[in-house]
């Protein structure tokens, strides 16, 4: 997709301005219903597009991303843009600097058309936690698009943009990609800098692409990956061009099927689609092997201790003083300022998670919860190390079910959390994972997308991208 558009730009078949205009026209038509965007950056997008056209006309060579319309999740800072993380807490916040990923894609002359909707502070799996109203699934607008990077997935799935950036702490790129029928990649922890990304769970967060094709995900990753001195957790750069690894051949590769992922809770129809995908891999020459990840059943509890603990620390900075503040309060003391700002600025799920994290980190409970969870996390990581001694990739369904209807999970937090059951393990272990469309399940005469998740060894993004690409071109 990106490569084709690039060819057309360079050949003069189209212009960056035309692509940007088409993107905004689609947004104007579709977004009143789908609500993928929280804000648009028309002016800067058109300026950049015109600049790209000028460079091409002069015969200069431009990057693959140059002039291609894209969107950025609203928890990623871009200078001069409103960056709300879909929270009332940041309703008035204008980012004074670029996140490293924003800087890198803009250095490639990517045309950012706007900032996308999400669950507040990336907490949720449906965008129902956005303080500005949910996004809708373009496949069936009565259904959620998934989350938290729901707006990014919707924007890509509905052709409003060609690709988008999301963030993934427990599945927030892969689950919405799966629900909307597009591709989503969570890189290895440390592969992509998180500088300028509003932090959620700092030992889990990663930035990654949501795209229409696997090759596009590879193209975007090549441009955002790499060490950054402003994010001390970013890993050493390799300067890989990941798209070069999408060769379309996985003959001889060993693919592990974790039996723990195929039991209770998995929709039978999703399982059927998944089993057909496994057969497809077999027919493409991969060796299918059973693997065991015995601590899988403890992953969700581990995640929902570690993530809220880290979230409660990260969100302590929102005091109503430095980041735009909250409208409509009139505190008299500094304590009241905190209580009123945070009471009014945070939505219900954020308050729930901050309180949970505050509790699990508090004196007397730290050992029983946070420390225990970190030990179980070590065991979960060990499970993956053991499995990867015998297989190259692990293949699972991305989610236990297809996109659900709005309100279907009610107010029961555990029910909603169970949606993350197949995705949180990759964040806990730090490994890269890619969600690709592998088929559909029909419900009420609508074909709802099913995603398959390919999990790879630490820093083997090229491997999982090639595995996904091979499936895609043979689908």
């Amino acid at each position: 997709m990106i490569r084709d558009l690039h060819e057309k730009l360079v050949n003069g078949e189209t212009t960056a301005v035309a692509l940007a205009e088409k993107s905004f026209a689609t947004i104007d038509t579709k977004d009143p219903e789908l609500h993928a965007f929280l804000s648009l950056t028309r002016e800067s997008a058109m300026l950049r597009a015109a600049a790209v056209d000028e460079r091409i006309q002069k015969g200069e060579s431009v990057d693959l991303l140059a002039g291609i319309p894209c969107a950025v999740k609203d928890n990623i800072c871009i200078t001069g843009t409103k960056t709300t993380a879909a929270s009332k807490m940041l309703e008035n916040y204008i980012a004074p600097y670029d996140a490293t990923v924003a800087e890198r894609i803009q250095n490639c002359d990517a045309v950012v058309v706007g900032k996308t909707n999400m669950d507040e502070f990336a907490c949720g799996g449906s965008t129902e936690n956005s303080a500005y109203g949910p996004s809708k699934n373009p496949v069936d607008p009565r259904r959620v698009p998934g989350g938290s990077s729901g707006g990014s997935a919707v924007a890509v799935a509905s052709d409003e943009v060609v690709w988008a950036l999301g963030t993934d702490t427990g599945g927030s790129i892969r689950q919405p990609a799966s629900f909307c029928g597009v591709v989503g990649l969570k890189p290895t922890y440390g592969r992509v800098s998180r500088y300028g990304v509003i932090a959620m769970g700092s030992s889990l967060d990663q930035v990654g692409p949501i795209t229409q094709t696997v090759e596009d995900a590879a193209i975007v990753l090549s441009r955002i990956a790499g060490q950054d001195e402003r994010d001390a957790t970013s890993a050493h750069s390799s300067d890989k061009k990941y798209e070069a690894y999408c060769v379309g051949d996985i003959a001889g590769a060993k693919i592990g099927i974790p039996t723990e992922y195929l039991g209770e809770g998995l929709d039978e129809r999703v399982k059927e689609v998944y089993m057909r995908a496994v057969e497809k891999y077999k027919s493409l020459g991969a060796e299918i092997v059973d693997v065991h990840l015995p601590h899988t059943e403890y992953a969700l509890a581990t995640y929902y201790i570690i993530m809220p603990s880290e979230l409660s620390s990260n969100l302590a900075r929102f005091d109503g003083i430095r980041f735009g503040g909250v409208d409509g309060i009139d505190p008299q003391t500094v304590l009241d300022q905190y209580l009123e700002t945070r009471g009014k600025g945070f939505g219900p799920e954020i308050k729930r998670r901050i309180m949970l994290g505050t509790y699990t980190l508090s004196a007397g409970y730290y050992d029983a919860y946070y420390k225990k969870a970190q030990k179980v996390r070590a065991l979960i990581k060990k499970d993956f190390e053991n499995a990867f001694e015998t297989v190259d990739y692990i293949f699972t369904p991305t989610t236990p079910e297809v996109a659900f209807k709005f309100g279907a999970k009610g107010d029961d937090p555990i029910k909603m959390y169970l949606s993350d059951i197949y995705t949180v393990t990759a964040n806990l272990a730090g490994v890269p994972a890619l969600s690709i469309p592998i088929g559909t399940v029909q419900e009420e005469k609508i074909d709802l997308p099913v995603g398959g998740q390919i999990i790879g060894k630490w820093f083997d993004e090229e491997g999982i991208l090639n595995a996904g690409y091979t499936f895609e071109i043979n689908a």
Partner: protein, 96 residues
């Protein structure tokens, strides 16, 4: 682990979140059920297991301890997000 309404009020105060009585009741229910779910972890034998806080095992990463210049423009961009300021300083309610 069943939390009481008083526990919820204490936690909210620690977290500096002002909550209403109705919220106390709903968080009492929600948080208790989530904590109950966490009890699952007690089944896991973690004797002798070292906890991990950082997954890729990177050691300390250092940079030069050098101040970086901030332009007037950058300073203004940061300060535009501040509600009250005085002579270039951020103004807050008195602490004492």
């Amino acid at each position: 682990m069943e939390l009481t309404n008083d526990d919820i009020r204490d936690i909210a105060t620690l977290a500096r979140i002002g909550i209403t009585d109705a919220e106390v009741t709903s968080y009492q229910k929600d948080l208790s059920s989530v904590l109950q779910y966490f009890e699952k972890l007690q089944q896991v034998n973690t004797d002798g297991i070292e906890e991990i806080g950082h997954i890729t095992g990177i050691d300390n990463v250092y940079r030069d301890d050098q101040a970086v210049e901030t332009s007037v423009h950058e300073r203004e961009a940061i300060m535009q997000n501040v509600r009250e300021q005085h002579n270039g300083y951020i103004k807050v309610k008195s602490v004492l």
